[in-house]
């Protein structure tokens, strides 16, 4: 196993042990958020990192999942798990459609088309009051039980952990499988990949579709965990940027990167929120200013993120005379 894999195994093991040692709900809550954000960024990474389809509209799929789960349980009194499945199905269709339609687009054009897609869904969710309750949002009542996803903090930790490990493994698969190498080829030089007989368009659509489904699944879980869904938040560009931000800071196109990014950014957010919460309204925005500045600095000076920096340091050590 490489160093990255050991680090990941260590982090997941630590997450699994935390509820055994700590019962403090603040810590458990932070842990759940770190795992969910890490999983969400991994989902983004499948399209943005591995296939090079950089999306700024992944909130669309997150929102689809969140609304599917919330509406299934609130409006139809069915299990949110069923809603999760519905959300994944819808996101497969939506992801396939947007992936197919935006197939030829590159760089900023692709990003713009995904933004437009998320905006359309935001408007539909805000205006279709009869079904989605419009911009007021949908409160999700807490009904205890596994079937209704009314879980305790400890149960949530393990559920989020299972999802996080699953997403991590999906990424590992993309790093080592034939399909993964093909995606890397598409990302680095599409014409060359095409010339080698890789079905580049199909691979790109597949990556975006898979990424959409994974994002939707976490969106459903998030809605049930947080207990509230509203269109302005779940379809926002800020959210889409957040998915990308974790991956970029941790290391875009690596399996560990999104989780490292999530640990850093989520703890930073929690810390700053707690610090500034007593101050005048709007000071909550301070951590977002820091995000923005960090994002600019990272893409400028360390575009490979934390895992990239670590790899560079390791190489340097290996080169140094003993």
């Amino acid at each position: 196993m490489t160093a990255d894999r050991w680090v990941a195994a260590g982090l997941f093991a630590a997450a699994a042990l935390t509820p055994v040692v700590v019962r403090d709900s603040f810590i458990l809550d932070s842990l759940i958020l770190i795992l969910l954000w890490g999983a969400l960024s991994s989902a983004w990474n499948v399209a943005g990192g591995y296939a090079g389809q950089v999306s700024l509209g992944h909130a669309a799929f997150f929102g689809i999942g969140a609304y599917a789960a919330a509406l299934t349980s609130v409006r139809y009194q069915q299990s949110p798990w069923l809603g999760l499945v519905v959300g994944v199905a819808l996101s497969l269709v939506a992801g396939g459609a947007i992936g197919f339609l935006s197939n030829r687009l590159k760089g900023p054009y692709f990003a713009l088309s995904t933004i437009a897609f998320a905006e359309v869904l935001k408007i539909v969710a805000s205006r279709w009051r009869g079904f989605t309750s419009g911009s007021e949002g949908v409160p999700v009542p807490f009904r205890p039980g596994l079937w209704t996803m009314g879980l305790s903090h400890v149960q949530w930790v393990y559920l989020a952990l299972v999802v996080a490990i699953l997403y991590y493994l999906v990424q590992v698969y993309l790093e080592r499988s034939r399909v993964g190498y093909q995606l890397a080829g598409v990302r680095e030089d599409e014409d060359a990949a095409e010339a080698l007989g890789i079905p580049t368009r199909r691979r790109k659509v597949q990556a975006v579709t898979l990424s959409a489904a994974l994002t939707s699944m976490c969106g459903s879980l998030w809605a049930q965990y947080v207990g509230f869904v509203d269109p302005i938040h779940v379809f926002s560009i800020d959210l889409s940027v957040r998915f990308a931000l974790n991956s970029i800071i941790g290391g875009i196109g690596t399996a560990l990167g999104p989780f490292l990014g999530s640990i850093l950014i989520t703890s930073l957010e929690t810390y700053l929120r707690a610090t500034f919460s007593g101050m005048k309204a709007g000071f909550g925005g301070i951590y977002l200013i820091i995000y923005g500045v960090v994002l600019i600095l990272v893409v400028r000076f360390a575009p490979e993120g934390l895992t990239g920096i670590a790899a560079r340091l390791r190489f340097r050590r290996a080169d140094a005379p003993a």
């Binding site: 090079g52 408007i123 940027v241 709007g282 200013i289």
Partner: protein
């Protein structure tokens, strides 16, 4: 409705009002879009933070009016100078380092800038909607049954003047020629003794000055708040892609089309759904004619 009655005087009035509103709106969109398309055309960077400079322009006008009683029309030349300076500063601090970098680096640099600026505004000035009414915002001009607001007319006129001025500058001045040469072939331009860094600095500053001025012009018409830029900039993307990224004349045509879609759409479907209409238009254009209505086919897949 009886088809024979369709073209009665009432319908002609409606059409005239819709056309007037579309043209006035289009002029303002053009000024926002022209800076975006200029920056893209010369620097090959999509400025995702463009809307935030519009928002800053709106706040500048708001504070000038509420604190000092300065009319936005008086603020306009001041704003042009201030935002030109802001553009230079942002170019030197942020953009210069990524001008040669990959698309992804450029996208996330400007996205980061956008997040940072939005939240600076949030922290400094809170998330409240700030609207002020100078005298000209309440003056209504009438021609027949078509009514328009004086702020809107002046905003339109100034926007068209500035856009036309920029257009002429790019087309006829020596500096404009130098800028276009750099856009066409950076290496050849360098060999001719052109300093691309200076060209980019000037381009970015002009683009930001345009959008800052647009912010001042729209301030009597729309409320300022930290995310105010977003709705406009999304429109500007639609406009710019419609016209072909980097194509200034296309951007003007695109503005009129988007404004027409918006005005007619809100008349037919109601204001609630008009936005869906232009985003659907946007996606359709990206899918079917990503190089814009008048652009060369294939530009989008070259990544230029």
């Amino acid at each position: 409705m009886d088809p024979a009655a369709r073209l009665g005087p009432a319908q002609i009035d409606v059409v005239a009002q819709l056309a007037a509103s579309a043209v006035l709106l289009g002029g303002i969109y053009a000024l926002i879009a022209v800076g975006l398309t200029l920056i893209f055309g010369i620097m090959r960077v999509v400025n995702f933070a463009h809307g935030e400079f519009l928002m800053l322009g709106m706040y500048l006008a708001f504070f000038a009016f509420t604190l000092q009683g300065v009319d936005p029309w008086v603020m306009l030349p001041v704003a042009l100078v201030i935002f030109f300076g802001v553009g230079l500063l942002v170019y030197v601090l942020v953009m210069r380092g990524v001008i040669q970098a990959s698309h992804n680096v450029q996208i996330f640099t400007t996205v980061g800038l956008s997040t940072a600026l939005q939240n600076v505004a949030l922290v400094l000035w809170s998330g409240d909607y700030q609207l002020f009414r100078p005298w000209h915002a309440s003056v209504v001009l009438r021609a027949g049954s078509t009514a328009v607001n004086l702020s809107q007319v002046v905003a339109f006129a100034v926007a068209v003047l500035l856009t036309a001025g920029l257009f002429a500058f790019m087309k006829f001045s020596h500096t404009g020629r130098v800028m276009r040469a750099t856009a066409q072939d950076r290496d050849a331009a360098t060999l001719m003794g052109i300093d691309p860094d200076r060209v980019y600095r000037l381009t970015f500053a002009i683009g930001i000055a345009c959008v800052g001025a647009a912010g001042v012009l729209v301030s009597p018409l729309y409320a300022a708040y930290p995310q105010a830029g977003l709705q406009f900039v999304l429109l500007a993307y639609v406009v710019v892609v419609l016209g072909g990224l980097g194509d200034m004349a296309g951007a003007m045509a695109g503005s009129l089309i988007v404004a027409a879609v918006e005005v007619v759409g809100s008349y037919v479907f109601g204001t609630a759904w008009k936005e869906v209409l232009y985003f659907v238009l946007f996606i359709a254009v990206l899918v079917f004619r990503p190089a814009g209505l008048f652009g060369q086919r294939g530009a989008e897949s070259l990544g230029v």
